[in-house]
């Protein structure tokens, strides 16, 4: 019984590990529209591409001209680091070129991250 409770607690404490619902992914895609002046999934633009984001070390897309701050941030992108960065990019990585105040709403950040996670597994990201 105790083992079951521990397992249930672990699942509840790691919501990001659960598959996102189609509704959440759709909501995240709507949030992603805010990023599209500078980013795209497939191509480097003013900001770097987002395909291959999860598990990637920050500042490591070959050929992209990152700020020194991002190159030296030692961040590896996952749900947790993205959530922190997207809350206030310039505070989390002072000196980043991403001059954006951030996304205050926790649910919007979660939706966006769920979308990015999902998009990374599909075309045009999937090989």
């Amino acid at each position: 019984m105790r083992a079951l409770l521990v397992l249930a607690s672990a699942v509840l404490l790691t919501p990001c590990a659960l598959a996102a619902s189609p509704a959440q992914i759709k909501a995240g895609e709507a949030v992603y529209a805010r990023c599209l002046a500078c980013h795209s999934l497939q191509h480097d633009r003013t900001g770097p591409r987002h395909c291959g984001l999860f598990g990637r070390r920050a500042g490591s897309v070959p050929g992209f001209d990152y700020s020194d701050a991002m190159k030296h941030s030692k961040i590896v992108w996952d749900e947790k680091s993205l959530d922190r960065f997207l809350t206030a990019p310039m505070k989390v990585v002072p000196g980043t070129s991403m001059g954006y105040a951030g996304i205050e709403d926790r649910q919007e950040r979660a939706d966006l991250i769920a979308y990015l996670r999902d998009a990374g597994t599909k075309q045009p990201c999937a090989k």
Binding site: R34, A37, T46, M98, G99, Y100
Partner: protein
């Protein structure tokens, strides 16, 4: 498409100037134009706050230069017919003006403005007709509205916030006109995010 009718029925120049004057748009434009020559800005050169402001301005400049390139792709695609083509060229001209004032302001603050890239990657393979081009442009303009909205509160210098807000308004108008051209509600909500 109702916007086409509007595009062909421009008010006479004098009447338009009067309208713009009354609406305060001329004042806003002048505020931005003055920014690049604002001596007070030059006096504020240096310091961490100014460095951060220059970084934000340079990111905005990079995006504006990319928008200029994107409209060039649209204009040269052969997919846009008049008067939509004229509209795209007009909007491209606005982005060139934004880029110009941003570059001058960056230099005024002691920074080095980024240059246009030699090559940009756009999803040209997905642009098959005029609506595709309009949709792509609308997507970029909406993104620009959000980007400026995210930049406005960050500037240490409030004059720069004012200038960024002025550009934001222009991008929002582009977005609305492009949506209207696509037959979508030009202003889908009371707020932008």
């Amino acid at each position: 498409m109702s916007f086409l009718i509007l595009a062909n029925e421009q008010p006479a120049p004098a009447a338009r100037r009067a309208f713009l004057g009354k609406s305060g748009l001329l004042l806003s434009g002048a505020a931005v134009a003055l920014l690049a020559g604002n001596e007070a800005l030059a006096a504020k050169k240096g310091g961490e706050s100014t460095e951060a402001d220059v970084r934000i301005l340079n990111t905005a400049l990079g995006a504006e230069l990319e928008a200029v390139a994107a409209y060039q792709v649209g204009a040269e695609s052969g997919l846009l017919q008049k008067p939509v083509l004229d509209l795209a060229v007009t909007f491209q001209g606005h982005h060139k003006e934004h880029a110009d004032v941003l570059a001058k302001t960056i230099m005024k603050l002691g920074g080095k403005p980024v240059s246009a890239k030699e090559k940009y990657s756009f999803p040209v393979e997905t642009l098959k007709n005029q609506a595709d081009v309009l949709r792509f442009a609308a997507m970029l303009e909406k993104g620009a509205v959000s980007a400026y909205l995210g930049a406005v509160p960050l500037f240490g210098n409030r004059d720069l916030s004012k200038a960024a807000a002025s550009i934001l308004g222009d991008e929002a108008m582009h977005w609305a006109v492009l949506r209207n051209a696509l037959g979508e509600a030009p202003v889908p909500s009371a707020f932008v995010s």
